[in-house]
Amino acid sequence: MKKHRKNRNVAITGIGQTALSSHKEDQNQVEMVHEAVRSALEDAKLTLDDIDCVVHGNMELFEMQFQPDMWHALGSGAYGKDEYRITTGGTTGATVVCAADNLVASGMYETVLAIGFEKLQEANTTGGITNMADPLWFRHLQTGALTATTATEMIEEFGEKRARRAAMKYRIMMDKHAMLNHRAHRRLGLEYEQMEDLMKNSPQLVGELRLIHMCSQSDGACAMIFTSEDSVKKKGTAQPPVWIRDHETSHREETMSNLFGFKKPKMTHRDCAEKLFKRNGIKDPVEYFDVFEMYDPSAWWAVDWLREFFLLKADEHLQLLESGAFDLDGKCPINPSGGVIASNPIGATAMLRPAEAAMQIRGDAGPHQIKKNVQHALASGFGGTLWTVLIMLEKDLNW
């Protein structure tokens, strides 16, 4: 068993994000990062003088800008401070949060500013994702992040009608959430009556993965501030502190094709959830968590992954979805923000998950705030060949 001990508790004390959209031609990257940083500082009622260290992250291959943290120093406020750059692909934002948590927990810094951003309009995502693949063999086969393999498997397991309806129920539910989130990029105003029409007529991207199922490409930035328990108690906070209870990261060997043999390997999502929940004594995650902000790149993946993250069996995840348990007013709402399907500025995407989950715990998410008390939140990041990061947040420091 690997050693895993947190030296001291860490709270999220400031959250800022830009509006998320397909175009941000009125700002360059530095200015966009600055907008998020400023809004996080205003939220925490702090100034840059209170920040000891900056953690900065995005997916560098997309914008083809190596060392963007150097260029961004004027916008990030990192000049003269310690700074770390993190670039773990899709999981970047979540890894930035884990790193910021660890840096404060270690005792090295009192207050850390974390930044995740992406300007996908300036980027070439297919080029970036292709160049991520093993250059010796897989690069010539890799064509980006689109796949219908999960759709095919779900249709085989649950039948065409139920599987397609589940994916559309999830998609329209996400849009209904996004309609309440004024920062969300794609807010389409979909209704459940359109389900049959969309599942038939939305253009096919890959097999049964249709345009309607897939996430967007967005521009945007997110910034968060992390402070030690000592600081929170001595100096107080402008917002209710949200505590980071624990986090876990799971990777797998770097080939995609052996996910599709006759014998399926255990998914990273399940592996990650099992480790995290075991360490924290969570027996029934659907019962325990009041919200789950999940990194959901497509409706098919989202539905399938819910089974893995919540350690469910057979069609339990479909039953919960169909019965409304994941709706905004359900037992465990998924992505009140509208999720990645609505907004996907990749380097910020996995940070927006814990950021939005923390806002739900604070109770100030806005129109997409869950109406009941949110005590325990889960957030996930995803990237590469199904890498997974899971982060647990708590309202009270009582575990």
Partner: protein
């Protein structure tokens, strides 16, 4: 009916001017357009071997290979880039019957993008005078009683009076009696002074402005008002995007394990290595078994035939990662468990295009090799279905 400052008809009227015949030499297509709702209509564009014919259509659109449908507002918005095409396609406000990739590949190639030439709006004296009340600074004019008139000649001219009294400012058309001061000039001189292109003192000394009455009052008027800001001036702010193409050649060392794999391809062999501990096969071979953390040194030839266990039939036109050229769709990637492989180890490759209609889980496939393999991924042309 205008949307985003233009009409659907203008997009089609400018099509011949925007057409690039040299890019359309090999194109033979008839595209039907239907813009619904107010300002809509039907059009047909026939592109054939470098020629273009655009016609309006009454009644049914016939003989089109591809149909593009949207309400007029969406149509204009997408054309101008004000509405993202992918979003409009997603929420079905924009529908394409036929080949969707046309929108993203062919049309941008054969047409110069449509744009509106901004109508430069000239500021008039009336525009400026209509802002006088909003610009009035009551705090600076406390206790001031004053009236002044403008007699503006030429285009956009007229007569106006501005009266300041009891901390209020009113603007009236015509010249009031008993003005403290009256200023006579060309309307263009007034606009120039107010927008800062003409210096007021110079205008007066050069005789462009005639002042009747209290000269001091004329000079004092400025302090009772905020400066006029030309609302069009903001458009002069430069928001540009820089276009950069990056293309670099790369070299990668294979090392001995992948070297063995490529050497195998030269002999038309698919070589896996075997984990000495869990006995699983790994294809292509990997240096160690990631589960058992041991070196896998033994090699075994797999297949060449195998069974398809999952697949992706791709309709979305994405660029070939090696050339940047948009691929012909559909194409299919398959996950094959090769004969002799352990059940957890699949191999992925492209399927022969003609076999896509017969592709399903469980079909048997085999590789088709290049005539002279040279230890490169192009040695396998594709996999084909064994009938």
């Amino acid at each position: 009916m205008k949307y985003f400052g233009t009409t659907v008809a203008d997009i089609f009227n400018t099509m011949p001017k925007r057409f690039k015949p040299e890019e359309a030499k090999d194109v033979d297509i008839v595209i039907g357009y239907e813009a619904t709702g107010p300002g809509g209509g039907k059009w047909k564009a026939t592109i054939k071997h470098g020629t273009l014919k655009v016609e309006t259509v009454e009644g049914e659109l016939e003989g089109c290979n591809t149909m593009i449908q949207a309400d007029a507002e969406t149509f204009v918005g997408v054309t101008l880039g004000k509405i993202t095409a992918i979003d409009a396609l997603t929420n079905q406000k924009l529908r394409v019957v036929g080949d969707v990739k046309l929108l993203m590949t062919l049309l941008p190639k054969v047409f110069i993008p449509y744009s509106i030439i901004p109508e430069k709006k000239e500021v008039t004296a009336r525009d400026i005078l209509s802002t006088v009340r909003d610009r009035f600074r009551a705090d600076k004019a406390a206790g001031v009683i004053m009236s002044f008139g403008y007699d503006l000649a030429g285009e956009g001219g007229g007569q106006w009076s501005i009266i300041i009294k009891d901390g209020q400012c009113t603007v009236k058309e015509g010249l009031e009696d008993n003005l403290n001061v009256k200023m006579t000039m060309d309307a263009s001189t007034y606009v120039g002074m107010m927008t800062g292109t003409l210096d007021a003192v110079t205008a007066f000394t050069s005789g462009k402005v005639k002042i009747d009455g209290d000269m001091m009052a004329a000079g004092a008027t400025a302090k009772y008002f905020n400066k006029y800001v030309d609302p069009n001036a903001q458009e002069a702010e430069e928001l540009l995007s820089l276009k950069v193409v990056t293309s670099v050649g790369m070299r990668f060392a294979t090392g001995p394990v992948m070297g063995k794999w490529f050497a195998g391809l030269k002999e038309k062999k698919l070589l896996a290595n075997v984990c000495p501990s869990c006995k699983r096969t790994q294809i292509p071979p990997r240096e160690i078994c990631a589960f058992c953390h041991v070196r896998a040194g033994e090699y075994k030839e797999l297949g060449p035939e195998g069974t398809v266990n999952n697949y992706d039939v791709v309709y979305y036109a994405s660029p070939d990662p090696l050339t940047g050229v948009v691929r012909d769709t559909p194409y299919a990637g398959i996950f094959v468990v090769l004969d002799g492989a352990t059940p957890e180890d699949a191999f992925s490759f492209e399927l022969k295009k003609e076999d896509i209609p017969r592709l399903k889980k469980g079909v048997r496939v085999r590789p088709v090799w290049a005539e002279k393999p040279k230890g490169h991924f192009s040695d396998i042309l594709y996999f084909e279905i064994i009938s």
